[in-house]
Amino acid sequence: MKKRTVILGLFVLLVLLVLPGCWDRHEINNYAFWIGTALDAGKDGKLVKSAQVAIPADFKSIREGGGKGQRANIVLTASGQTVGDLIQQIQDKLPRKVFLGHRRAIFIGEKLARKGIKDIMDQFTRNTDTRMRTDIFVVNNGEGKDVLKINSPFNQFSSIVAVDQDRYCRLGDTALRDVLLDIGRDGIRPAMPMIDIAPKNEQEKHEVIEVKSVAIFNRDLQMVGEVTGRESLELFWVKGVLQNLLIPEEMETGNITIYESNLKKNIRTTIEGDRIKAYVKLEGSGRVLENNTDIDISVSKERIPLERKLNELKSKQVEATVKKIQKQYGQDVFGIGEEIHREHPYKWKEIKHKWDELFPNVEVTVKVKIKIQNTGAIGKRVPGIGDRK
């Protein structure tokens, strides 16, 4: 018995000697944290990949205020055929081991997006080092690597700034997942947030990034077009992923702006022979932010007609946006096909193969139903600022 214990003890010691730490031991200061990736189309069909990598030493100096103007990251660029090849090339330029687990955003240059992104998508899901919780952008009229080079005043990493900016105005860090959800389904086409590099002006020392457009993709993952501003918000609203929005409406006597939140969408579809109809119902609750009209919103008798009027205006607007996307790009980024799939699953099987041809002719009716729940901090307008006599 005793002998066995000794043997067992020796065995345990042996195991301790070869504990896995020996192979996968990486101190945190041996890692190069990869924060953002940019992919662009280079010359002669090559892929250009840029990486925004953190320089940890500079964190400290920036916090102490000594390193003003110094960058906390470097942008490395490599060109090659595949994404995997490029990771090796980036590694060759770094004294530390590349660590992809903290990558927050992917930027795709518009040229590459228009060429098609089918060949670069695989590794985003396959690589076990990366997280699927990543934001993905198309760079409007630009190259992905230019975004990485921006030095934002808010954060040393323009990638993180882009993610945060996207979160407050559109999708946030689930964008890659949302794009992947739409790829490969018959009744919906992917849409991706777009990022603009705003030029420097006199007030701003730095270049600023703007998230205000949405890129529309086709079945083969080629970008076919974009919608900007209000239209892009309405696109995401009809798609059902938007959380809140803020659009001023022009009335006869002035502007009124309502902050709309708790947004919901509901789509009903009918198929009668060749005619496919979709009834889109958009709901939400509103809070008045600005009222430059003559209407006294504290009085229900005036507020209710205003609500009706606003909803009518908004319905027309959204309808126009849907029509524009139908006619101009013909891609079902709203997922109306998926709604048919859910509602008429057996009929869908017959039409799903020709959905791209059918979608532009779907008759879409939009009905917006925003309820003004809150008139803001004041009811009627302050006397002297446009009060009624």
Binding site: L8, F11, V12, V15, V18, L19, P20, C22, W23, D24, T125, T128, R131, M132, R133, D173, T174, R177, L180, L181, I183, G184, R185, G240, E338, H341, R342, E343, P345, Y346
Partner: protein, 363 residues
């Protein structure tokens, strides 16, 4: 000391959950698309049915293991053959699980560590627990780890709610139809059928006449968890990504980001889950060594622990990188083991046992 019914419940719960959330969900989604959860519910029913048969068989021979009562029912040679086949099958499944486990750990935690090290560490732990405390010690570990795993799973389910798109679960039934749903259910049903190991464990259970309820409950709870996990995975990643992910539950846990504060929980879940796989492998090692010892007539079965462990270890290393991860499950377990060892033979054993029982009663 023998295993109490409560310990038995936790033992089976841990070893069923650790498999069903790990390996069965994405193959089921691949076959049954967004109706995978129906498949998994059907699988639960099948699992309960086959387990019921196995328990009835073993309760009729509660003092004997499968190796012994097969000989009693069929005579020495056929009985030994049946016992040997079962043991061979258990050797193969144990090696396969050990291999997938090592590959999994290598892929998610230690990229550069050789597989043989990971497997050796696991085997060392298995040998130790069997040598030091045999099946009672394993039961006590599962009593400890089972609740932790359950709590971990439910926390992750709760935190994932904000990521769900329920629309992805529709349309129900219309896309797939009855056949794919039933075909999809075989995956998890066959994994739940691992409960047939109860036939080797009855002599060690304190009150084996009362074991029906806890074991069946230990099949139901993992099935319910598998159903919820499938719904969550489909509603998080959709059927396209969900069916291609190799370990969808862990990918889902990785996706959780609660208030920018709770993230990367996969390491915690994996930590507890590794203990549960350990419980499973340790029980298999016990069954294999004890069964082989009985088959060969070796008095001191603990000698067999080392031999079985070495055999399992070597087999687990042989096919690495050559055979795909789930090939064993797809080409051996579901096609041959499930109909023969999990459904067929237990029914035959039960029938023969009932017939023999009547004969002896008459005589």
């Amino acid at each position: 000391m023998k295993i109490s019914t409560w310990q038995l419940f936790w033992m089976f719960t841990t070893l069923e959950i650790s498999m069903s959330i790990w390996l069965t969900i994405s193959p089921t989604i691949e076959i049954a698309r967004q109706d995978a959860w129906i498949s998994l519910a059907v699988a639960g029913l099948i699992g309960v049915a086959v387990t019921f048969i196995c328990i009835r068989v073993s309760q009729r021979h509660s003092a004997l293991t499968l190796v012994e009562f097969a000989q009693k029912l069929f005579g020495k040679w056929i009985g030994k053959l049946i016992g040997a086949l079962y043991i061979l099958m258990w050797f193969s499944v144990c090696s396969d699980i050990l291999r997938i486990f090592s590959l999994f750990v290598k892929q998610y935690l230690f990229h550069e560590t050789p597989i043989w090290i990971i497997a050796a560490l696991m085997v060392a732990a298995m040998v130790y627990v069997n040598y030091a405390g045999s099946v009672e010690a394993i039961a006590r570990i599962s009593e400890l780890m089972g609740p932790l795993l359950l709590i971990g799973i439910f926390i992750t389910f709760g935190l994932n709610i904000t990521n769900l798109h329920p629309a992805l679960l529709f349309p129900v039934f219309a896309d797939t139809g009855a056949m794919p749903i039933i075909r999809g259910s075989f995956v998890n049903a066959s994994f739940l059928g691992e409960s047939m190991m109860i036939m080797m464990l009855t002599p060690f259970i304190a009150n084996s006449q009362k074991m029906l309820k806890p074991v069946l409950l230990a099949i139901c709870i993992p099935s319910v968890i598998a159903v919820i996990a499938a719904i969550m995975i489909i509603a998080t990643f959709g059927t396209n990504v969900g069916s291609t992910l190799v370990f969808p539950y862990f990918s889902m846990v990785r996706f959780i980001n609660y208030l920018d504060f709770i993230q990367n929980m996969d390491v915690w879940v994996m930590f507890v889950w590794i203990f549960c796989v350990f419980v499973k492998l340790a029980i298999y090692l016990f069954i294999n060594s004890y069964g082989t010892a009985q088959l060969l007539g070796i008095k001191n079965w603990k000698v067999m622990i080392f031999i079985s462990a070495i055999v399992i270890y070597v087999i687990s290393l042989v096919p690495a990188n050559i055979v795909g991860m789930l090939d064993y499950a797809n080409y051996v377990w579901i096609i041959y083991v499930f109909p023969i060892f999990i459904v067929g033979l237990p029914i035959v054993l039960l029938l023969v046992s009932l017939l023999r029982g009547r004969q002896t009663a008459r005589a």
